[in-house]
Amino acid sequence: MHVRPPKNSQSKDFLQMEGIGVLMTCPMFPYLEQELEQRFHLHRLWDFPSRRRFLEAHAGSIRAVVGDTKVGADAELIDALPGLEIVATFSVGLDKIDLGRCGEKGIRVTNTPDVLTDDVADIAIALMLGVLRKVCGCDAFVRSGKWKSGDFGLTAKFSGKSVGIVGLGRIGSAIAKRAEAFGCPISYCSRSEKPHVSYKYYPTAAELARHCRILVVACALTEETRRIVGREVLDALGPEGVLINVGRGAHVDEPELVAALLEGRLGGAGLDVYENEPEAAEELFPMDNVVLLPHVGSDTVETSTAMADLVVANLEAHFAGKPLLTPVI
């Protein structure tokens, strides 16, 4: 289901919202800033030397926070904004928002599901092809002039390789659909087995890893899924196995992953997320069996625009007393 919010609403409510204080936590997307600025009184947290200085000046006037995967709304921020009514995150992930605190205080929360599903699933497949067929390595080979002295060598076939998906939600299902078109047998693990799904279910990530060549993390980050990929799962995946992470860096025990790759105990990895972004496991930089992307899962013009429109539409709906488009709580 794709939500299509109205753009540039011209209602009376639109004009009355100019005075509403909206806090943007960090630079995200210039178009989003512009759209927010046109409708509300936009405050940019990064314009201030510190969070404390901002709060001293404007805490009382903030009724909405727009955060993202880098800077969200933690308990400290929520508590410091007495007038806060709604947190609208420019992401589908909610791990940077203290949902418990929001719930306690009756603060609404919205995110941007569905509009970014395709893009993230596309990047997951891009990472699989990149690691197995060494697309990036081949590109570097040609650019360096080495092709003039010899051919590149063999790369691993992708079509038909078994793919195991951790988390069969919107994104996991979209990944499955794409991988199936390559003839890949699909299996998954999830909190519980999904009815009406023909893919093979395994109750744990380790069990799943034992039965697939490519393991892809596509679940939400919660207390249960933190470090869901650790030594046991990596060992189960093994020297021919490949790990793909389009979830959160915190899903994977990164030191274990790095060690497994450096020691050849894991065949390869395609990563879009890391434990300490924008630091990206430097030890892996010289390796040719990894692909390292700077958290670009949903970073297309089309999707960022759709996400921005959804954030704005949710805020407008809230302040106009209308139902939220994509509420979480």
Partner: protein, 361 residues
């Protein structure tokens, strides 16, 4: 002595060669003392390797027994000299690849050749008419590669649109921490993809891209029955209705430079071209110029007009992804190809039908 007489001359035998008729009984004791000479055997067929058999060496696999392989690169003579040698001229079969054409001139110099085996898809590098004229059988590379090639086509396309290689480079140079976010890419879903040549490879590409939400249409010599994708009878018309073009056809007189400046301009500033067919299908000089000028959005290329040379200007562009003709280089495909080469050689020289005869289209 009459030719078919039972008189047999044994050197060093105790029987005097003065014509004693030999009966079986008198022969047997002699047979126990000296073994008969071996019957004349056919020497192993001579196979000329025009290029180093890298498919076998990629797998550390030895060339098959039962053949004598002629290797020009092991000779002190230059290729031309080698081809004039008695050794080369005794060749009964030629093993070749895309970079070593088998033309009428070569066939004239090798009069004993009865079989040509190509290790590359397509046959524009073999003079099929001349082979037919000389009664030379031709075997091709079979159809084992479609999935791998289609996989790479999709890989190149996503890479160009989502700037995968470019952003991987960005991360490895440490720029994510120092410079911040990388540029936004373009969504694959919803793209209107035109496939040029809807053979096995084209169909595999179409099937994959449909799963990503692309709208697929195609151009081919003839409309394909049982295919629901919209058909365009010429490449230019196809391109005006698409923002992505994937070249999946073979190279021949009609397709040479078929993707010219006009077609590329129709693809446009946001358009992306992917080529996993053959370099000369695209007018490379025009394409490079348009990419550099920003008149063409991007390109994913596995093939070039003069491999392994790639136009310098492309090496500095972030909106192109370059691949060293690697579409078929996976262990499965290379192993299948080696099996096919061996199988075709063995079949031909034991008078059995070729496994993958090449039919002229």
């Amino acid at each position: 002595m009459a030719p078919n007489s039972p008189f047999i001359n044994f050197p060093n035998s105790t029987v005097h060669s003065s014509q004693v008729p030999i009966t079986l009984e008198s022969w047997l004791p002699m047979a126990s003392r000296a073994a008969p000479p071996p019957l004349p055997r056919r020497p192993p067929p001579r196979v000329l390797l025009l290029r180093h058999p890298h498919h076998f060496s990629l797998l550390d696999r030895p060339l098959p027994d039962g053949f004598r392989f002629l290797k020009p690169w092991e000779s002190p003579l230059p290729l031309d000299g080698f081809l004039s040698s008695a050794d080369a001229r005794s060749a009964e079969a030629i093993l070749t690849s895309a970079r070593a054409p088998v033309n009428a001139d070569l066939l004239r110099r090798l009069p004993e050749v009865r079989l040509v085996i190509s290790t590359s898809a397509g046959h524009n590098h073999i003079d099929l008419a001349e082979c037919r004229r000389r009664g030379i059988a031709v075997a091709g590379a079979g159809d084992t590669k479609s999935e791998e090639v289609a996989d790479l086509a999709v890989g190149l396309l996503i890479d160009v649109l989502r700037k995968v290689s470019a952003s991987d480079r960005y991360v490895r140079r440490g720029l994510w921490s120092s410079e911040g976010e990388f540029a936004l890419g373009s969504k694959l879903g919803g793209k209107r993809v035109g496939i040029v040549g809807l053979g096995r490879i084209g169909l595999e590409v179409a099937k994959r891209l449909e799963a990503f939400g692309c709208a697929v249409s195609y151009n081919s010599r003839k409309k394909k029955p049982y295919v629901s994708y919209p058909f365009y009878s010429n490449v230019h018309e196809l391109t005006t209705n698409c923002n992505v073009l994937v070249i999946c056809c073979g190279l021949n007189e009609q397709t040479h430079h078929m993707i010219n400046r006009e077609v590329l301009l129709a693809l446009g500033k946001e358009g992306v071209i992917v080529n996993i067919g053959r370099g000369p299908i695209i007018d490379e000089k025009e394409m490079v110029q348009l990419l550099v000028q920003g008149e063409l959005g991007g390109a994913g290329l596995d093939v070039f007009e003069k491999e392994p040379y790639v136009p310098e200007e492309l090496l500095g562009l972030d909106n192109v992804v370059l691949s060293p003709h690697a579409a078929v280089l996976t262990p499965e495909t290379v192993s299948n190809l080696c099996d096919l080469i061996v199988g075709n050689l063995e079949a031909f020289f034991s008078n059995k039908p070729l496994l993958s005869p090449l039919l002229d289209e």
